[in-house]
Symmetry: C2
Subunit: 217 residues, 2 copies
Amino acid sequence: MPDINAMEDLKEVYVGTLTDSKYLHPVRLHYTQGGKKKIWDMMTVHEGVSVLIFNITRKKFVFVRQFRPSIYLNSIPEEDRKGMIDTQKYPASLGVALETCGGILDKDKPLEEIAAEEVREECGYVVDPSTLQRIIGFKGTLDYARDSQTHFYCEVTDDMKQGPGGGNAEEGELIDVVEMSIPEVKAYVEQNNVLSPPALLLTVYWFLLYKAPLYSP
Amino acid sequence: MPDINAMEDLKEVYVGTLTDSKYLHPVRLHYTQGGKKKIWDMMTVHEGVSVLIFNITRKKFVFVRQFRPSIYLNSIPEEDRKGMIDTQKYPASLGVALETCGGILDKDKPLEEIAAEEVREECGYVVDPSTLQRIIGFKGTLDYARDSQTHFYCEVTDDMKQGPGGGNAEEGELIDVVEMSIPEVKAYVEQNNVLSPPALLLTVYWFLLYKAPLYSP
């Protein structure tokens, strides 16, 4: 299991300028629509997959928790972002999000195979890619980003768990595996504010609508 | 009503460099986590609100359709993005998304008031901000973006419709209002791929779970 203390051991945080990035490509699109010249500022990013995992042996969702720099920075007021950020005042936990397992498409393989690899790397379950159920795919989340996402649903059993998960340590990933019951997740998504992305919320609502009746007591 | 032909009359499209933007601020966050120096490339963007609107007089959802440059560019292969983009080969319709009504937080007002203004501007319904039901708020959608979003649900009646909607023409907004029945929307979100953001999907699933039983025949 990854060390929770390592995840929350955060220091020497500061915002720098971004001139060139392997992941983000800011561009300005110029176009003329209905006779009017317009511009739109945006960036192109990697496409991704996410997988909602449900362990049918114990009727538990399997999620991941990880530190997300974007969410962390979002929690810090503008005036406190200058210079070194005070990690006593703003602890790492402000940026630790509960998410569905997932990753970016950085290999030329079918989506289901990439998704199954993420399930193994992050959560330790070995699944047959053909058992993944496609929930939905869409193009573009933000106004600003190219961000195609495909969401899958995957049922696992205890005996499919063949490793600890936790992500690719060589790539510096620090990922906690988190199990939650159906009532726990229902209470979680009924809150006013969550530290979770819409991928988790929409796939959980999909589950509550279509799958929960099969598994609820 | 906005002119559908204006929305789809697209030409002189090309990708330019982005050096400075009012909306996007690419930054690189430097930090040390668990003793390892790391960087994360990201951008900060405006926060936003969205509203799932349901007309209880006619049992219809009220959505908007608009051209999204980010989705349009996403549909064009890398090799065809150089120089002027061929709008015969890649028509505007590739980037016209079905979305919930919404906008960015560019005014210092309560979220409910900003959301109610978007409902009036985009869809023509005058609603009391206090009647908006908060579905969920979250921080950060992408790995890459600061993007706080708050989603509301709002019921309207035919006699609350006091204008055409269509967005702020002075700001160059071209927005179509689209009505869909519960079965139509259910079929829409059950597709494998949609030209819609997760905000629409998650709030529609929320509706199907909690509200549809009240309104279905």
